[in-house]
Amino acid sequence: MSEFFLQGLAEVSNLYTLAMITLGVIFGIIGGSIPGFTVTMAILVVFPFTFSMDPVDGIALMIGVFVGGYSGGIISGVMLGIPGTPSSITTVYDGYPMAQQGEPGRALGIGMLSSFFGTLISVLMLIFLGPLIAQFSMNFRPWEITGLIVFALTLVASMSSGAMLKGLMAAAIGLLITTFGYDRNSNLRFDFGLPALESGFEILPVMIGAFAFSQLMNNLEQLSSRGRSTDTPSKQAPAQGSVSIPYRRILKDIAGQKINTLRSSIIGGLVGALPGTGGSVANFLSYDQARKFSRHPQRFGTGITDGIVASESSNNAVLGGAFIPTLALGIPGDLPMAIMMGVLILHGITPGPLMFEQNPVLIGGIYVSLMVAAFAMVLVQLLLIRWFAQISRVPQQILVPVVLVLCAVGSFALNNNLFDVWVLFLFGIVGYLLWKAGVPLTPMILGVVLGKNLENQFFRALELDPSWTTFFTRPLSAAFLALALASVVFSLIQNQRIARASKASRTPPS
């Protein structure tokens, strides 16, 4: 374990990599602080810049964006009353009232330090749990890996609130997209006579198209109503010039929140490690737990330290947790991690248990980059907080065309091929229409990322043993498939309960 760390430290300790992490943090904070932009979008925009870098530098830059992005949501949350990302919704509950009471600097400072500790605690979880899980999963054979991928996909699909059928359909469509072009036996599938389709669809333009277009168009559609609702807080927001950080007060605040920080960070780390959850779930869960354990639960939502600490330490802790299944099993749990896995694949690295043996330097580099990014995040926010507060007001009308251009350039830069820009456009339309039809896009994107591996493992299993029943007779494989079925059944029961409850609430009392 210490070897990984030292090797990673040696790899990351150079000016260029440190500069990349800092740049990533700055861009991540900017992305996180602009309402509606989200961490995922920031990652997608930065991704093409890593093409010409070596894997460690590229991953370091991306990690900077991740860490900065998860912490950046607090800025617009505190200054404008609008969460910059979904994972900072509960930050607004106490951060904004505190700012309105004339202490925006204190709210931001508490948020920054909580994010910092949350990241560090989750990295420690990753350092201890990652290799253990990877060691355990070394015993996985094709049957188990197939079962695990099916479980991850069904879990994410069935957690799509109230849209399980659509979630499962989206996951299957994602898998189907990966069957275009040459297969593992060099047979051509679904090329429709077009030479450009012979090599299939690249993961990146499909992911960017489906996610970025639907997100940006959604932002545009919501602009009018959101603009109206944000008018009031914006006008009431504290003057930008008045943001000063009361360091002593913040240190005193944080010193009184040790257990809250630890508890919220562990919740964040564990939630992050579960597929299909992410920052917003961790955010609500830890906020709720902090309130339950508090001696003064009635003060939550009025601008108290406990609420900001619970919220910010948990959402940043998601990061380290989310790396655990991605690195140890090769299964990304959420959308940002699916994109991160796409980054690793494009740099020629296959995440999974073997990565700990084959790429120890990169694993160590990820650990160290996460820690360095946590330090850089605090420093950058302390130094540039006033500017970030201003940037968070960039209007979507300017942002949307610029991001679309960056998406097009990024897709083109992948292979210097215009066809990839057309793929981006095609999946932009598909993603937008699916989103309009209420289809969750995360299962589809996970399907695209995991599709090739699922097909390979599935047929490798059948080539080793042609009997289909082996999937159900091997204990671990059977357990994963049973869990997949259980996640679907659980979701069905839950949906029925929700339907019954809403029906009961609609029925007029007799």
Partner: protein
């Protein structure tokens, strides 16, 4: 509304499944050294998608039948009530504008992609940024034009320089 939407979605997906099922007939048969046909996996997925889309279709049909006339009347009356609320002058201008912006932006992006090899990155991107911002920001004040032209004039060349000289990525 959502039941109709679901039915349209299920129908479109079933149509896609049918097209790809026919196209899967063109996938070459397995050779003597292959254990499995290359068409098995996509056909398996098409089967799963087909079943899920059919279930969605049935679910939407059942949901629309389950809606009682009482509920429908209530929904109708709520809609009528909402419709009769007089929109503010702001809403008058905002509603139709946001209605056409999204499809217009899609068309613009399609034109941008088409024009990239013809005009080259710089001209095509400048044109796209200026037109798209004009569409979204509006063109009613000189300030908006200034913001538009400054943003496009700085960002398009900046991206070009970063990719071409910083990252050694050739742009069209």
């Amino acid at each position: 509304m959502s039941t109709i939407r679901d039915r349209i979605l299920a129908t479109v997906v079933l149509g896609m499944v049918a097209i790809l099922a026919v196209e899967s007939g063109n996938i070459p048969d397995k050779t003597s050294w292959q254990m499995f046909d290359s068409a098995i996996f996509p056909r398996l997925l098409l089967g799963v998608i087909g079943i899920l889309a059919t279930l969605l279709w049935i679910q939407s049909l059942l949901a629309s039948r389950r809606a009682t006339p009482l509920q429908e009347t209530r929904e109708d009356s709520a809609l009528t009530e909402a419709q009769t609320i007089e929109p503010t002058p702001e809403e008058y201008t905002a509603r139709p504008r946001f209605h056409y912006q999204v499809p217009s932006l899609f068309v613009l992006f399609g034109l941008y992609t088409w024009s990239l090899p013809l005009l080259g990155y710089l001209i095509a991107t400048l044109a796209f940024l200026i037109i798209a911002q004009a569409l979204l920001l509006g063109v009613d004040t000189p300030r908006k034009w200034l913001i538009n032209l400054v943003t496009a004039g700085i960002l398009a060349p900046l991206i070009f320089v970063i990719f071409e000289y910083g990252l050694n990525v050739w742009l069209p």
